[in-house]
């Protein structure tokens, strides 16, 4: 009451205040504070990153905004670096194989649990522990499992006769990337499965009954009902997989550190390494810029596929 009397003399203030408590101002305030925060701590760094990739940055000019502008030199040097194309190739292999593995296993598990026996939803939920664990812990566990001489995976593979001598997963240039892919598939399978389960649950069951009456076998039902009905879910899951896989950093830090000799290095780890191991922030920013553009394209695909789903 007192505040109202106080504000009587200031009609403008009063209107503003009442708008904030009771009108459009309320919504604008609620939405603008977080958006300003996001713009300050995500948007600005993003632009700053692009700016840095066109500048010459050294330890002395690190704190300044205005630095010598060198055009595309950073990009030119980067493309000419001998490790550039191998690392890009690794990134692509890592992304494609991780997603393929996570998606296939996730879909198989989702189909299995979709049969809906008692306890299925509880057991299915348990799988998600791989996803809530800190990435570094997952990396540490797999680092130990994949150990060359004493790793349990090598023991299981040799004793079942699949390999004749131990594979040095982390230190052999032919296997180091696959060590991380393996851990990443394990990490992401459960998340894929949960999202695909939601899509499966949304398919009307009478569609299956009708086609069963028409004499369709299980494979035909899968390809004519399940896959088409799941199209937008699959689109969303795969683009989310792309986004998460390109964010994966902890596993590289915990298992191979990108080595040996960059054989398991990928762009998102390399960018960090350039900045924080070699203190070449301009190159780090350049790799980051290239990758952020890639991720943005994936994000547009994701948004489009979720939009699609809402309309249905």
């Amino acid at each position: 009451m007192r505040s109202r009397r106080l504000l009587n003399g200031y009609p403008k203030m009063k209107r503003l205040l009442s708008s904030v408590t009771d009108g459009k101002g309320f919504d604008i305030l609620l939405v603008s504070l977080p958006l300003l925060f996001l713009l300050a701590f995500s948007g600005l760094p993003l632009l700053y990153n692009v700016l840095m990739s066109f500048q010459e940055v050294d330890i002395f000019s690190l704190g300044r905004l205005i630095r010598p502008f060198i055009g595309l030199d950073n990009y030119r040097e980067l493309f000419a670096a001998p490790e550039f194309w191998p690392i890009m190739w690794n990134t692509m292999l890592f992304v494609v194989c991780s997603i393929a593995g996570q998606f296939t296993l996730g879909l198989a598990l989702a189909l299995f649990f979709d049969t809906g026996f008692r306890g299925s939803s509880f057991l299915r939920g348990l799988f998600l522990v791989s996803w809530v664990m800190p990435g570094l812990v997952v990396g540490a566990i797999w680092n130990w499992i994949l150990s060359g001489d004493f790793g349990v995976l090598n023991y299981l593979l040799t004793s079942s006769g699949l390999i004749s001598e131990n594979i040095f997963w982390r230190s052999d240039v032919d296997y180091s990337l696959w060590a991380v892919v393996l851990a990443n598939i394990w990490l992401g399978t459960s998340f894929n499965m949960i999202l695909l389960s939601v899509g499966l649950a949304g398919i009307p069951k009478d569609l299956y009954e009708a086609s069963e009456l028409d004499g369709a076998n299980i494979l035909q039902r899968f390809s004519t009902i399940t896959l088409p009905m799941m199209r937008s879910t699959i689109g969303a899951v795969i683009s989310l997989g792309l986004i998460f896989t390109l964010q994966q950093f902890d596993l590289f830090a915990a298992i191979t550190s990108g080595g040996p000799a960059n054989s398991s290095n990928v762009a998102q780890y390399w960018a960090w390494e350039l900045s924080f191991r070699q203190y070449d922030f301009a190159k780090g920013a350049t790799v980051s810029t290239l990758m952020i553009i890639t991720v943005m394209i994936a994000a547009v695909l994701y948004v489009r596929s979720t939009r699609h789903e809402v309309r249905i």
Partner: protein, 275 residues
């Protein structure tokens, strides 16, 4: 008869699949309980010979884990509070309206969700060091992590608000409530569970955060448990039972919370990520 046998068979298969999938987790616990020589036994022992629980107290003391875990808790609590404080209102407004501006804001939020931390750390580090924020490294990590995690929170909580009928708030407005009143007294209590579950997910993520802490916190006394674990795993380490004991102490609380809240977390997650 055959129907129950069928479901029993399925349940058995499901438990078997679960056991295979969760084997790495079991291996962490099993290794932690082995002695320093038993971990190098060949063939490996799948059930530890003698259970040595003293290793946890030993690792806790020698690796200064109390300090590391405390720093993780500080970072996770601060990030969660900041995310919930800023994100809830944003999610509410984005759920209640449908127009071009909301679409643009939503698109922006979705886009900022996907930026990988390991790529954003370069400009954030350079910018923060210029602003002097790196003198308060844990706070700097909170700010950076909040910006990274808030979009995810907004999308999950927005789905919760969308499931609450707007008519309830309209009725409150007719009864003479202000907009703030309708939001605080009607919408917030109804969305409480969704907000809580999403906040817990953010807490779990922040508790395991690594990239920002590793890059921005140089002072070892301020580093969180993830950085501590990374420091423990040198390239030629042989103390795998101790590393796994460290990992056990670090993740068991998270796993316990997850198993307790499992159903809610799963349903919260699925409603948000696909809608």
């Amino acid at each position: 008869m055959s129907a129950t046998r069928h479901t029993r068979l399925l349940l058995f298969a499901a438990i078997l699949l679960g056991a295979i999938y969760l084997f790495p987790l079991y291996w962490m616990y099993a290794t932690a309980l082995k002695s320093g020589s038993e971990i190098f036994a060949y063939p490996p022992t799948f059930i530890p010979r003698g259970l040595d629980f003293g290793i946890f107290a030993e690792v806790w003391a020698t690796r200064d884990m109390g300090r590391f875990i405390w720093n993780s808790l500080v970072i996770a609590t601060g990030s969660m509070a900041l995310v919930a404080l800023l994100g809830t209102g944003c999610a509410y407004v984005l759920a209640r309206y449908r127009n071009v501006w909301i679409d643009i804001a939503l698109f922006l939020v979705l886009m900022l969700q996907v930026l990988p931390a390991s790529l954003m750390i370069t400009p954030i580090f350079v910018g923060f060091s210029a602003l002097g924020l790196l003198d308060f490294p844990r706070f700097a990590v909170m700010l950076a992590f909040t910006a990274k995690a808030m979009p995810f929170f907004v999308i999950l909580v927005r789905a919760t608000f969308m499931s609450i009928p707007a008519e309830l708030e309209e009725a409150a407005l007719v009864d003479g409530n202000s907009r703030i009143g309708a939001f605080a007294l009607i919408a917030l209590p109804l969305a409480r569970n969704g907000i809580l579950v999403s906040a817990i997910l953010i807490f779990m993520q922040a508790f395991g955060e690594f990239v920002y802490s590793k890059s921005m916190i140089q002072d070892v006394t301020l580093q969180p448990a993830s950085v501590g674990l990374n420091g423990f795993m040198g390239p030629n380490t042989v103390e795998w039972n101790k590393i796994m004991a460290y990992a056990t102490i670090y993740v068991t609380p998270i796993l316990a919370a997850f198993v307790l809240l499992q159903q809610r977390i799963v349903s919260g997650l699925t409603s948000g990520a696909l809608k």
